[in-house]
């Protein structure tokens, strides 16, 4: 019942304006036969996602973004961003920003850590909006069918890093680089500024996290996220498909090199964002 597309449609009809509804209707996705794709994404829930996130995006975090022309309008692609903020609001803002700034609209498919699909309700709602569990097989299938992935190569260590390490990228994993080379997909580096200050944590505990099925649980210093302003910078795509052949995905040096280039590009965009903003709420 909670996951009924009819309910999602009703919310979208009530709260989305006509132009947003018509944009969602243009959404390209691979219907597996009953209105859902094989991973459980459904356009009605994408619309519901916009309904839920729009107030946060427009009013609370007042997201600004630059470089939308760097988001490929079609074909496989990997969006690689820095991760921060103790809860994945950065992923949600990015998801909606991509949806709103692509024509025809594209859903960036967030690749989530393994624990996310096992979270009751949340895991299913995220899946309806396009999230997939972080397995190689899932990512491969999506890229093969021309989808765009959203990956945070820092993983959990990035999102729960302490205040003292804000905007210092944690070591990038290399899976995104290997996938991009193997599937000949450009990588779009993204710098996210604002997320680090939204929910400062006093400390993070693995033991408390385990109680909730999470790898780690941050204990926040504030009861709700602060209304920081989000700044999203899309960098020029790294044309992996032009520089490497699929077989280079088995070359550890090539994979490391691409991952390092992505990290460098993301760090540069983060620095640009930090230098351009005038305050965390501005």
């Amino acid at each position: 019942m909670a996951f009924s597309p009819a309910i999602a449609d009703a919310f979208a009809a009530l709260f989305l304006d006509a132009s947003s509804q018509s944009r969602i209707a243009d959404l390209h996705f691979q219907d597996a036969g009953h209105g859902f794709d094989a991973f459980g994404m459904h356009p009605s829930f994408v619309a519901l996602g916009e309904v839920v996130l729009a107030p946060l995006y427009d009013k609370y975090f007042r997201v600004r973004s630059w470089g939308h022309e760097n988001i490929p309008s079609q074909g496989p692609a990997v969006l690689a961003a820095n991760h921060s903020g103790n809860i994945p609001i950065d992923g949600m803002m990015l998801w909606l920003d991509v949806l709103r700034h692509t024509q025809p609209p594209r859903v960036a498919r967030p690749i989530a850590d393994h624990f996310v699909p096992s979270l009751p309700y949340l895991g299913t709602f995220f899946a309806r909006g396009g999230m997939v569990g972080g397995s190689r097989g899932n990512a491969r299938t999506l890229l093969n069918s021309g989808e765009m992935l959203m990956i945070f190569p820092e993983g959990v260590p990035g999102i729960v890093k302490p205040w003292s390490k804000r905007y210092q990228l944690q070591k990038f994993r290399e899976g995104h680089a290997e996938l991009a080379i193997r599937h000949q997909a450009p990588i779009v580096p993204i710098g996210v500024v604002g997320g680090e200050e939204q929910l400062p944590a006093l400390f993070s505990s693995r033991r408390i996290g385990k109680l909730f099925g999470l790898p780690i649980m941050p204990v926040p210093a504030v009861p709700i996220p602060l209304p920081v302003r989000y700044h999203l910078y899309y960098g020029e795509p790294i044309p992996v498909q032009e520089e490497f052949k699929p077989e280079h995905a088995d070359d550890p040096q090539a994979v490391k090199e691409v991952a390092a280039r992505v990290q460098e590009a993301v760090q540069r965009l983060v620095h640009q964002g930090l230098s351009e903003r005038t305050g965390i709420f501005e």
């Binding site: 009924s4 009953h34 459980g40 895991g123």
Partner: protein, 334 residues
């Protein structure tokens, strides 16, 4: 995709008393590329529902007994020149366990392979397996390829273990055997009498599912199962193939399409709840056995079957399938 030369095949179908086997025999009777058909059933041959035909021989054989199987293959099958064996027989009830069931599910496959390898006319063995052999868990891909891990959990019930053992027994002989061996891992056939756990689950007016989860499932029809088996008969390729159905949908949508009421319940109460249902009403559905499929999505990837066998699921389910089983079909060994 390679197909056999024009010589007519003579085929032997085990499990012909069950809906899939019966539908396959009917389809083969209409297939001009097939010569003679030997339909093997666990029931008395006089009760076989297909009208007699010059191209059809019906034999009542307990394939769990090696001696009976030997006699079938080296007498009837040899005389008729059977070149392809399609093994669709499986013990269907998930509540029955023990040596007899194991013999029917697993020993029959081993014995069948051993006999077929020595047989003068049999060249091809097609084994029907099930998607239940696969493991589904949070860190595994939603789309299940043939290389996907199998459910090797030590606490898996015999229903699952037998299917895996039979499947693996056939797979390990590939390439070593003079036979062309094909294993078809089929999606759950949502029809009465097929041993479908989901069909049994949907028999209740109220269907409980774990709160907070709504996994994607893939279901198929008997027509598509027959189509996949026919594609395998007419191909010369061997190997393991996933056979998906045309219906990929969330569990809640399946419940709704069936006209049932889906209610969320705490996961930990569902196993005892469905155990009580099984004991009170004689239903066959075991929640514990299906638990992971009710939480994590698992959809068969049929790309290999499409590329090699030319199989594409084409017959979606005509919702809801309400036909109830009136006999013992669906519970025992057929």
């Amino acid at each position: 995709m390679s197909t056999k030369p024009s010589k007519k095949s003579c085929v032997l179908v085990t499990g012909a008393g069950a809906p899939i086997g019966e539908a396959l025999v009917r389809s083969l009777l209409d297939d001009s590329r097939i010569g003679h058909i030997v339909a093997v059933t666990g029931y008395h041959q006089d009760t076989f529902p297909i009208a007699p035909s010059k191209r059809l021989t019906v034999q009542s054989v307990d394939i769990g007994r090696n001696r009976h199987l030997h006699q079938l293959l080296f007498d009837t099958a040899k005389t008729l020149g059977v070149d392809t064996v399609i093994h669709t027989a499986m013990h269907l009830s998930a509540t029955d366990e023990g040596q007899r069931v194991h013999a029917y599910n697993v020993d029959s496959v081993r014995n069948l392979m051993a006999h077929c390898e020595r047989h003068p006319t049999i060249r091809r063995l097609i084994v029907r397996s099930a998607s239940a052999v696969y493991q589904v868990q949070r860190d595994l891909p939603v789309l299940i390829g043939e290389e996907h891990p199998l459910n090797m959990a030590g606490n898996a019930p015999q229903w699952v273990r037998d299917r895996i053992e039979a499947d693996v027994s056939a797979c390990v002989r590939m390439g070593m055997s003079p036979l062309q061996i094909v294993v078809l891992r089929m999606a759950e056939v949502l029809a009465p009498g097929t041993g479908s756990q989901l069909f049994d689950y949907l028999e209740s007016p109220v269907c409980f599912q774990p709160a907070g989860f709504d996994p994607m499932i893939n279901l198929m029809t008997i027509d598509d199962a027959v189509e996949a088996l026919s594609s395998a008969i007419h191909s010369v390729e061997q190997g393991v193939f996933n056979i998906p159905g045309a219906d990929t949908l969330p569990l809640s949508t399946a419940i709704k399409r069936w006209g049932r009421i889906g209610l969320p319940a705490i996961d930990s109460v569902l196993t005892p709840l469905y155990r009580i249902r099984r004991r009170l009403t004689g239903h066959d559905f075991r929640y514990g056995m299906n638990r992971r499929w009710f939480i994590y999505s698992g959809v068969l990837d049929g790309q290999r079957a499409h590329e090699v066998l030319g199989y594409v699921p084409a017959k979606p389910i005509d919702w809801p399938v309400r036909k109830r089983v009136t006999s013992d079909i669906g519970r025992g060994s057929l």
